[in-house]
Amino acid sequence: MANDYDVVIAGAGAGGGFAAMSLAKKGFKVLLLERGKRFDYRKDFPMNHPDWELKARAFSRHSSTFKLGETALISPQDHDLCSAKMDENGRLNHLKPKRRGRLVYQRVIGVGGSTLHYQGEAHRYPEHAFYPQKLYGWGQDWPLYYAQLAPYYEQAEHVLGVAGSPNNPFKVPRGDYPTPAHPLSTGSQIAKRGADKLGWNLLANPLALPSESIDGRTPCQHSGGCVQGCIFGAKSSTDLTAIAHAEKTGNLRLLKNTRLLQIETDSKGDISSFIYKRKGKTKRISASIYILALGAIETPRMMLASKSKKHPNGIGNQHDNVGRNFMETIALSLQCRADQPIHSYQGPPLDSRIWDFAKPKRPLRSGFVLGVAGTLSGRHGPQSYAGSIAGMGLDHKQKMRAQFGRDIQLFGIAEHVANEQNRVILTDSLDRDGVPKVDVKSDYGDTDRDSIRTMKEKILQWAEASQLTEIQGLYSSYDRPAAAHVGGTCRMGVNPEKSVTNAKGEVHGIRNLLITDASVLPTLGAGDSPSLTIQALALKIASFVD
């Protein structure tokens, strides 16, 4: 029986979209399945309305929550790693929880995936992030190195129109970015003065928010509303870039509101079909090549749930690696307030970075980055901000005038060292489509705790140097887990006994199944955002398909 398509891809996010574009341009007939809808930025995002704070958020119901397992306990000696409030004496008073909180996996189900709500960070991983075992004695080295990925990074940056400055002494030297870097926001300018005093380098953050028009799209209008969905169509989410390019070739068919339910295999153990559900009906589709791009939690979920004679423990799980080595986001954030109005809700939300600490200086240490944010909290507009201030009367009104638009967050994001005990596991419950639900077990190791301690020390030092004395509190992902960047659950590697895919994204032992999402990442790039790496890897993996 002839296959319906050359390639079927499940998941129209960062990885799936770029794989679809590459393959469609090469002339392959590609079917792209996406569980969610396609958003129209002119209508569907709340900030299109002056009264946007009263409108329903476009992506509010897409997150999942995981308990992290019974072992995610917090010892009293680690309370200094936890979130903290300021007490009356101006000291940080750490919370003393007995265990880590739940992990809220915030994603977007829709054409474009989580690029619909991301802030557009477009980082090339530093070179050392590819060899953590060789250089520092932890994690697993990648089966490829930076130089092999560089051409695909460049290609992805051009598709996205990334705005940045090439002058970054902490990254591999490179040419100009497609569009110029955005000027630093007022908040970042204040933080830069502090960084300068400390001898640190606060640099413009490369962003998939083009500063000039590309492909006829409006350039970034600095609305600060990336996480709500860009109402100008300026943010280079995958639906407006890679998928749009793929559609222009005439070789892509996109099925929205279509959910992958199961993967079937043949007698050899190769993939024979994807079973999906659309408009209430279940259908089967066959292709020469199958690609999973569902993300670091959903891809292993689908693989573990699709058991067969040749794959009794799930697709590609012959060595019990599928779902293991889950990496979450290690983050710390100090909420401060500037002593002058800075309109912190304006501008690209994450416009600056400090990479001085990304490269560890000692074995068994991992790296981290620092940055500035104004609007990461939910208190973005006047109504939500006012609602967050206690009290009423003149006192409330005066506080509102004194505080609104002055928030600055100094934050850090670290590498989460891969640990095979951290994993995605199937539960006995089924969702309403009959797909087994999953839970996530994850905890921090000694290196991760050390990262939090060091980040805290640096961030407090930075706040003092920046003369940010009005501090509201400290957020820590140790007790309030974060899942902005996740990965590792089908990691690529040379050894099939310790990895799920090879350097070509091929699932070990299966001829025709590839993975092009965050699950293949062996490391999280020393705190850098993974989206550009996922996109570059998708292009590289697609390049091997012929």
Partner: protein
Amino acid sequence: MKFSRRKIVTIMAGLVPAAFVLNTVQSKARQSPSYDIIFAAMVDAIVPADEYPGAINLGVNIKLLTHVKKNKNYLQKITSAMAELQQGAQLTQAQDFYQLSLDQRVNIITRMMKSKNTSQNTRIQLSSMRAKTITEFYRSDEAFKMLAYHPPAYGGYPDYHSAPKS
């Protein structure tokens, strides 16, 4: 800031057209002073006027009450809460709620919102009306002017990197 008689007259003048369409059930619900006066005094306390307009200057009390009056049960809950607020003022200050100073009204509302001696309905309605008053006020053009804010839909923020004037 006292809730002056002049202010009461101004508010009543605004309410008269609405009063004409009120049915007899609502008339029976009114006490002296009427619940809408107490309601206006409460809204005024939540976001008062200073050098910038306050909530009642923007008609927030009228807008909220118009919504309340669409539902008989809801109106009953609000009138009951206003009666208890009035009672609280009488007990602590021997005055009608609307006659108290701004600070006195804020203190009574705040105390009653937290006190277990306050009925559950009143605690709920006070808390809810606080949130609604704040939301209505801070979605207004006047509030935007006060904060030097404009929504992003009006062309984004091209000057985000220039420090605003204090």
